[in-house]
């Protein structure tokens, strides 16, 4: 019964939060130091939209790492597939936006199905390396074929076939709502995955894959479906990114971005949906604010031994990430859960240690396949 009340409370809270977020463009709220402008102006809305895009991407990554226990270093490939896919389709096929989005998602599906199926030949750390290699190949393709992708310059969004209400700074509000919708959709998919048979199977095989096989279940197929779903959610975030930024740069398919997403998820707390969202938002806000701080006069006046590190936002974020991994193994969400709810003590710790148990045990399925 208590579980039911809790779920009910979470659902009500979630709806209230989404409603508040949806109303923000109509309100005049100033958060100096966090938002560049009051909430009804394009500056703040653009930053919040970007934060939500990354929150959606982090959620999709949490499906892989948190639910499936798969440490991928190539998740950016699918984000880039969405962003570049949409851009290339709109520029070359001359189709309207909505069919273009569907086609871009189909592209993301195809790429993730092939690369996922091959990567899953190995598990654990080798899996991480192989996904990294695929993402690298994607990144090379994007940088090399500049006639199609714009190369290092990036690809601008062809706006001829995009509805007017989604184009331009004046319509940032509409883009903001569209991004919010994407985040909600990805969140609902994540909830569904976690509660479905698929999620149970993926979690169970994270704990002990051999046992699942003995029970006659197909953990590999379940994990592939999970991988593809996470990739699709990432592609959707990429599409939102393309529309929001009116273009994309090669960084959208780089290993850098995957690592950024990993930083978001680990900061927020692996295995917690709200942690992933928080991580995505926090990262975006910190990245933007620290960049402003780095350019400020207060920093410029410091001796170089302090000035150089403080003027590199990514150095500060990286250091913070290391500290979280060393001292807060559950991330923000895991630590909060441990503090707030004594009954769930230890869970925050378990998320990552589960993965390790997994990386040890994952060697067993390889044996069974080969013997």
């Amino acid at each position: 019964m208590t579980e039911l009340t809790r779920r009910y409370g979470v659902a009500v809270g979630g709806i209230a939060l989404v409603t508040l977020m949806a109303l923000l463009p109509l309100l005049n709220i100033s958060l100096p130091g966090i938002l560049p402008t009051p909430t009804y102006q394009p500056g703040a809305l653009a930053m919040l939209s970007l934060a939500m895009v990354f929150a959606a991407l982090a959620l999709s990554y949490n499906m892989l790492l948190g639910t499936g226990g798969m440490l991928s270093f190539g998740h950016a490939l699918y984000f880039g597939a969405g962003a570049y896919g949409l851009g290339i389709i709109l520029e070359n096929l001359g189709v309207p936006l909505w069919p273009g989005i569907v086609l871009a998602l189909v592209g993301g599906l195809a790429i993730s199905l092939v690369t996922g199926a091959i990567s899953m030949r190995v598990t654990g750390i080798p899996f991480a390396m192989v996904t990294l290699a695929f993402a690298q190949a994607g990144s090379v393709l994007v940088r090399r074929n500049s006639s199609v992708t714009g190369g290092e310059e990036g690809l601008a969004l062809e706006t001829d076939h995009v509805p007017d209400w989604l184009v331009g700074v004046a319509n940032t509000r509409n883009l903001y709502w569209a991004t919010l919708a994407v985040l909600v959709v990805v969140y609902l998919v994540a909830v569904w995955v976690d509660r479905s048979r698929l999620g149970h199977l993926a979690r169970a095989s994270r704990e002990n894959e051999l046992r699942m096989r003995v029970l006659g279940l197909e953990p590999t197929r379940a994990k592939l479906v999970l991988f593809v779903l996470a990739a699709l959610a990432a592609s959707l975030s990429g599409i939102a990114y393309m529309l929001l930024q009116s273009g994309t740069v090669p960084r959208a398919v780089s290993a850098d971005l995957t690592i950024t997403v990993l930083v978001m998820v680990v900061l927020g707390g692996v295995g917690y949906r709200w942690g992933a969202i928080l991580g995505g938002v926090l990262y975006t806000v910190l990245d933007q604010r620290l960049t402003v701080l780095a350019g400020s006069d207060a920093i410029a006046g410091l001796p170089s031994i302090l000035r150089v590190p403080l003027s590199e936002p990514l150095f500060l974020l990286g250091t913070m990430f290391i500290l979280v991994v060393l001292f807060l193994p559950g991330g923000i969400a895991g630590t909060a859960h441990t503090w707030l709810d004594g009954r769930r003590r230890g869970r925050s710790h378990d998320q990552l240690s589960d993965l390790e148990a997994d990386s040890e045990e994952n060697r067993t399925p390889v044996e069974t396949r080969q013997s």
């Binding site: 091959i118 080798p126 990286g318 390889v366």
Partner: protein, 292 residues
């Protein structure tokens, strides 16, 4: 024919560079099951400090070149040792978190290097001989490739001697084989963890200085770019296998250079395709051990 020899030689030279990075990765993974994402920044820091040293000593002399290699190696060793002691050791046996910590270190270090040395590449110059070519079977091969090959051969030879004939080497080999058993025999395996990091770091630091001469510049992303290929090499060669890493380094780099030359610059893609093929046909890599 001469083109063929030239492409082959550049491939072997590049393979030598891959091996300088991959050998450390492979040893560390074999013994500790840690995927060391920070290996590239050991290399980058070695390259930067080596460059600084060479600048101060007059960049075009042989003494400066030798000193920069020595200093690069020392810097790599110190950085790697400190990394093991400060970041890896506290997370003993928690492999995923160890990987994450190295990811964070790489992330933070690259940003710091950009802060210190700027984001533009620093062009370097060495002894003039390095830029000259030597004729071999009609091909004019840049001398820097020979230096790379010699360095990698020396590294491989000394690693083999070290692993075969010294007590620490024996412990490392035994640890790769069955770490629980070595620990049960009362041997402090942790010392060899630090040791493999130090060895890997020194190879990466030397590799950094040589990589800078190979590419002609140092930048904050030098190491992480090479690292991805080193990962591919270690997976293809079989994780934890030193010989596998050596063979795969040369195979991958030669394949890459031939594809770059004869298939209009598709080398990077061909390498990933090769990785996919190896995984489909033989998931444990060329010389990876059959899981017990």
């Amino acid at each position: 024919m001469s083109t063929f020899v030239l492409v082959l030689a550049t491939g072997i030279g590049l393979g030598a560079l891959y091996f300088l990075v991959a050998s450390g990765l492979s040893l560390i993974y074999g013994l500790m099951h840690v995927l060391n994402f920070a290996h590239g920044v050991f290399l980058t820091l070695g390259a930067f400090i080596g460059w600084e040293a060479a600048q101060r000593m007059g960049a075009s002399g042989w003494v400066a070149f030798a000193a920069s290699i020595l200093i690069g190696g020392i810097v790599g060793t110190v950085f790697a040792t400190l990394t093991e002691l400060a970041l890896i050791r506290p997370l003993y046996e928690r492999h995923i978190e160890q990987v994450l910590v190295t990811v964070g270190l790489a992330f933070a270090s690259v940003a710091l290097f950009e802060g210190i040395w700027g984001s533009d590449p620093l062009y370097i110059s060495g002894p003039a001989w390095l830029d000259e070519t030597t004729s071999l079977l009609g091909a004019r091969i840049p001398n820097v490739y020979f230096v790379l090959m010699i360095a990698a051969t020396l590294l491989l030879a000394s690693l083999i001697v070290f692993l075969r004939y010294t007590r620490f080497g024996m412990i490392i080999r035994a640890g790769v084989e069955n770490r629980a058993m070595v620990t049960a025999l009362g041997i402090d395996v942790k010392k060899s963890f630090t040791l493999v990091f130090a060895i890997g770091g020194s190879a990466a630091g030397v590799g950094g200085v040589l990589a800078a001469h190979y590419t002609g510049y140092v930048s904050a992303h030098l190491g992480q770019g090479l690292l991805i290929f080193a990962f591919i090499v270690t997976v293809i060669g079989g994780l934890g296998s030193l010989a596998g890493a050596a063979i795969a380094s040369v195979l991958v780099a030669v394949l890459q250079q031939f594809a770059n030359y004869y298939l209009s610059g598709t080398g990077d893609l061909i390498v990933v395709v090769a990785l996919a093929v190896v995984l489909l046909a033989r998931p444990r890599g060329l010389l990876g051990r059959r899981p017990a």
